[in-house]
């Protein structure tokens, strides 16, 4: 073992090792900064070329500075080397540098273990079905490299053929893996810190600046999937509220989270029950359809009926809620009125003047003021675009009187400022609007690109009323969704047309994957045996089941291994069949009785079949002894004769 461990790698093994490293790096690439991934890919490529050309070692004066550079880069970027993101970055870097010193079998084995580890780490960032399949395929090069280290094997000519046995091995391991996956007891609470939430993922933030959504609006990944008890709401009612923002400082709107105030009163005329499965956001807000009536478990309902979870949403989160779709929210504003009228001093003088002029014009008719603003957006030459011109210090003035272009954030913000200036309590609400109704899966798919901002105004007697100023500019945004709203050429190619439709249909697979695999948590595991009448499956039961199924799987494997596949001689098999038929007719072959004696005895005791039996005997003996290799035709003739041999249950 030790003698072979120091053996230098042959070319094929080294190719496979390099391929395994490259695959691990490629799967990590989307989650690593480019300045780390690109040089590492270069290192792997150069090293492969160098070893192939000259079979030379990498000098120490090259390896050490590269290692130091890597550690410095990671520390410089993340501050330390601990935690998930810096740890993964360091692991990826070390993996690539490991190829520099991979010369012997031992190095290759260590490297392959490390590559498997790095591959698994790629799943920490992305758990979708495609990512999982990609990582599973990424396991093939390490398996092939490990195989190639065994001396005395048959080497296939083509490199890709090396990957096939690994695939067969993984396929054979799938049943046991599925069983283990079901039965490995899940942890109720993590052993150590959950993934650090410093890095905000795409998703809604608790503050909003006009043009702050731009990244979100081109992020095409799913944000939430919603299934309804009963029919889904109409497209124009599909508003998912996340944050209610009332504080405006002239540049951005912010959500002030106050924990210990009871939610405001609501009078419900119609409500809907639904179920949301939320993709990890790293944030704590749980979007809800319109106005929620109560908070789901492990979350609380804030003053303005915003649902905030107790912990950041780091994994897929499922919750069931009831929401009001026809309602009167906060019928009496009371002492909070001033809060919804607050405007910063010294900003947007022209906007304020416009609002005040409407107030003078329409007096107390709030509905008329709202209509005036919507008319302004509709007829005032405004344009919907995802790439608006930048705005200055008086952002709303610039937008309303100068650039005339923007998207939902601009319109919601400007509208709210106008309303407040006119003395109508107003606020900005962010969330999602629209979504794709997947008829096959009966659920609504909402993407991050469906993020939206709108306004709510408080009207006496009606409470908070949703007003979507974007709809005034571009009604398609509301009716058809985000994709339809964008003017041509502004959305990336993958969001357009038939491809988008295909992606929407494909999403049902992701939903199944999320429901079946990613959503299989400790809670669902405890209900695993419910069909068998066990309401709560204890951890000890799971462990016992796991052990039992491992033993069973091993036994099945051993049965397969111990099976001696001696291909039975076809002539002999035919004779056996004849023996069984004769045994049913009362003539049993004795131990040590040759076929000739037996068939002669059978012919004597079954005179009715005498002719057939003698013929069969001669046929068999001829097959057996007349030729070295019996011909296929005469073999088939024997088999046919045996098959047609009649069994008559005449007991003599």
């Amino acid at each position: 073992m030790n003698a072979t461990a120091a053996t230098p790698l042959d070319t094929r093994s080294f190719d496979l090792v390099a391929l395994a490293f490259a695959a691990a790096l490629a799967l990590q690439m989307p989650h690593q900064p480019w300045w780390l991934g690109a040089p590492l890919a270069l290192v792997i490529g150069l090293r492969w070329w160098q070893r192939r050309q000259r079979r030379a070692h990498t000098p120490m004066w090259l390896k050490l500075p590269l290692l130091a550079l890597l550690v410095l880069a990671v520390v410089g970027r993340y501050g330390n080397v601990f935690g998930q993101a810096p740890g993964t970055a360091l692991a990826v870097g070390l993996l690539a540098l490991k190829l520099l010193e991979t010369e012997t079998m031992r190095d290759a084995r260590v490297g392959m273990g490390f590559a498997c580890f790095t591959l698994m780490a790629a799943l920490l960032s992305d758990q979708s079905l495609l990512a999982t399949i990609a990582v599973a395929l990424g396991l093939l090069p390490p398996l092939a490299a490990l195989r190639s280290l065994e001396p005395g094997r048959r080497v296939p000519a083509a490199l890709w053929r090396e990957l096939l046995p690994g695939m067969a091995l993984l396929a054979a391991a799938l049943p046991l893996a599925a069983l283990a996956f079901l039965l490995v007891p899940r942890l109720g609470s993590p052993l150590w810190g959950s993934p650090n939430s410093a890095e905000q993922r795409s998703g809604l933030a608790d503050s909003m600046t006009p043009a702050g959504f731009t990244q979100l609006l081109i992020d095409d990944s799913p944000a939430l999937r919603v299934s309804f008890d009963g029919p889904p709401p109409l497209p124009e009612q599909r508003y998912f509220r996340a944050f209610v923002m009332g504080d405006y400082d002239g540049a951005s709107w912010t959500y002030g989270d106050v924990a210990d105030q009871p939610p405001v009163a609501i009078e419900v005329a119609h409500s809907v029950r639904y179920h949301i499965s939320l993709e990890p956001t790293r944030g704590r807000v749980l979007p809800t359809l319109d106005v929620p009536l109560a908070a789901p478990p492990e979350a609380s309902l804030r003053r303005d009926r915003v649902v905030i979870a107790d912990k950041p949403v780091d994994t897929l989160r499922d919750y069931t809620l009831a929401s009001a779709t026809v309602y009167r929210l906060e019928p009496q504003l009371g002492r909070h009125r001033a809060r919804w009228l607050q405007l910063p001093d010294g900003f947007n003088p022209r906007t304020l003047a416009l609002g005040q002029s409407w107030r003078r014009q329409y007096g107390d008719d709030a509905a008329a003021i709202v209509q005036a603003a919507l008319t302004l957006f509709h007829d005032g030459g405004f344009r919907y675009t995802l790439a608006p011109a930048p705005l200055g210090r008086d952002a709303m003035d610039d937008f309303l009187f100068d650039t005339h272009e923007g998207f939902c954030e601009h319109y919601a913000s400007a509208f709210t400022v106008l309303m407040r200036a006119a003395g109508i309590p107003a606020r900005v609400v962010t969330g999602y609007q629209g979504g794709y109704w997947n008829a096959l899966g009966n659920y609504l798919l909402v993407r991050n690109a469906d993020a939206h901002a709108w306004s709510e105004v408080w009207l006496a007697g009606r409470g908070w009323v949703r007003v979507d100023p974007t709809a005034a500019v571009r009604p398609q945004r509301i009716d058809l969704g985000a994709a339809a709203a964008a003017p041509g050429g502004q959305l990336p190619w993958y969001q357009s047309g038939w491809l988008q439709a295909l992606r929407n249909h494909w999403d049902i697979v992701n939903r199944w994957w999320n429901l079946g695999v990613n959503g299989f948590d400790a809670l669902r595991q405890r209900g695993l045996l419910r069909p068998f009448g066990v309401s709560e499956t204890e951890t000890s039961t799971l462990a016992a089941l796991l052990a039992a199924s491992c033993v069973l799987a091993m036994l099945a494997g051993l049965a397969w291994v111990w099976r001696r596949s001696e291909p039975e001689d076809p002539a002999r098999a035919a004779l056996r069949r004849l023996e069984r038929k004769l045994a049913r007719m009362g003539v049993t072959r004795a131990n040590g009785e040759g076929p000739r004696d037996f068939l002669q005895r059978a012919a004597r005791s079954l005179p009715a079949q005498r002719g057939r039996l003698v013929q069969l005997m001669q046929h068999y003996l001829e097959l057996r002894y007349a030729h070295a290799e019996p011909t296929a035709e005469s073999l088939r003739a024997l088999q046919r004769a045996v098959r047609d041999f009649p069994v008559s249950r005449v007991v003599k």
Binding site: L119, E150, R153, L169, A177, F181, V517
Partner: protein, 315 residues
């Protein structure tokens, strides 16, 4: 007490035939089956197991079901590789062993004839500190070199046949102890006098003219037709062939154990072995007189081997 120990040993032998060094030599062919194949994880396998455990705990901790699924998949694949390691050896047959010839102290070439119903890869065999890796496709011959030290019969050592196929995580092995011995020839002395020829031998050596017809002899297959003596053959029952310009036939050596009475047995054997080798190399005819019997005059590799075997087997 001793009887109990022996019973225990026999019991161990019966239950764990491959593990115990008590294993008796067994006749060929030897077929490996599950009762004599043993498997343990290799050092790399243990380390990989620890790595899998780390990945499992990590996946559980982060409640990352995708990673958990793939960790389970990798673990199950590794466990299955154990079965493949077993299958590499299971059903492998050592059908026969052919031994070459070697002087004592020189390696002796062994040819092991393996066969298997299924093709095998990466089978390894340990013999005398060397490891040989080979694949078996139907049947395969493996050449080994067995060190020798002393003339006479030498038992084959225990051979360890093992494999870490396919991933190097598990090591399956079995011991082979074929009931077969190889005959090691005595080592010739490095130098010494030529044998004492019987008196008058020198006169009988007559130089022969090179070009002339030397003799007529019976036709043997392979003789060129132009060498056939047609005229002579016409008067004869068989075809006769002209034998030309042969080098002078050397005098036959009559090697005699008793002629070396002044030396001890091993020295005599070594000297006789050297003379046999020289005679064979010079193309002489020779005979050998040993205490156990006499080998008549002859030449050629078979004759040489017969003489050397007789020498090797001297007490």
């Amino acid at each position: 007490m001793r009887a109990a120990l022996r019973r225990l040993a026999q019991r161990a032998e019966r239950r764990l035939p491959a593990l115990t060094r008590l294993r008796q030599p067994e006749p060929l062919p030897i077929e490996l089956d599950r009762r004599r194949i043993y498997i343990v994880p290799s050092a790399f396998g243990l380390a990989f197991g620890v790595l899998l455990l780390v990945m499992l705990v990590g996946a559980l901790n982060y409640a990352n079901n995708a990673a958990l699924l793939l960790t389970c998949l990798l673990g199950a694949a590794c466990a299955s590789s154990m079965l493949l390691a077993f299958r590499t050896l299971d059903g492998l047959r050592l059908r026969g062993i052919r031994a070459g010839h070697a002087f004592a102290g020189e390696p002796l070439e062994l040819t092991l004839d393996f066969s298997a119903p299924r093709p095998r890869q990466a089978v390894r065999l340990d013999c005398a500190g060397e490891t040989h890796a080979f694949a078996v496709d139907g049947s395969t011959e493996l050449k080994l070199h067995l060190p020798t030290s002393w003339r006479g019969w030498q038992e084959l050592p225990r051979l360890r046949i093992w494999s870490t196929w396919p991933l190097g995580l598990f090591r399956a092995w079995s011991w082979l102890r074929p009931q077969q011995s190889v005959l090691v020839w005595p080592r010739p002395e490095s130098g010494g006098p030529p044998p004492l020829l019987p008196s008058g031998a020198q006169e009988r050596l007559r130089p022969q003219p090179g070009e002339e017809l030397a003799a007529l002899r019976d036709y043997r297959r392979g003789d060129a037709p132009r060498h056939i003596a047609w005229k002579a053959s016409a008067r004869h029952h068989d075809l006769l062939v002209k034998d030309f310009d042969r080098p002078a036939p050397r005098e036959a050596w009559l090697l005699d154990w008793n002629a070396l009475r002044s030396f001890d047995a091993e020295t005599r054997i070594a000297r006789l072995a050297r003379w046999l080798g020289e005679a064979e190399a010079q193309g002489r005819r020779y005979s050998l007189q040993l205490p156990g019997g006499r080998i008549d005059v002859g030449s050629g590799p078979t004759h040489y081997a017969r003489c050397m075997d007789a020498l090797a087997l001297l007490p």
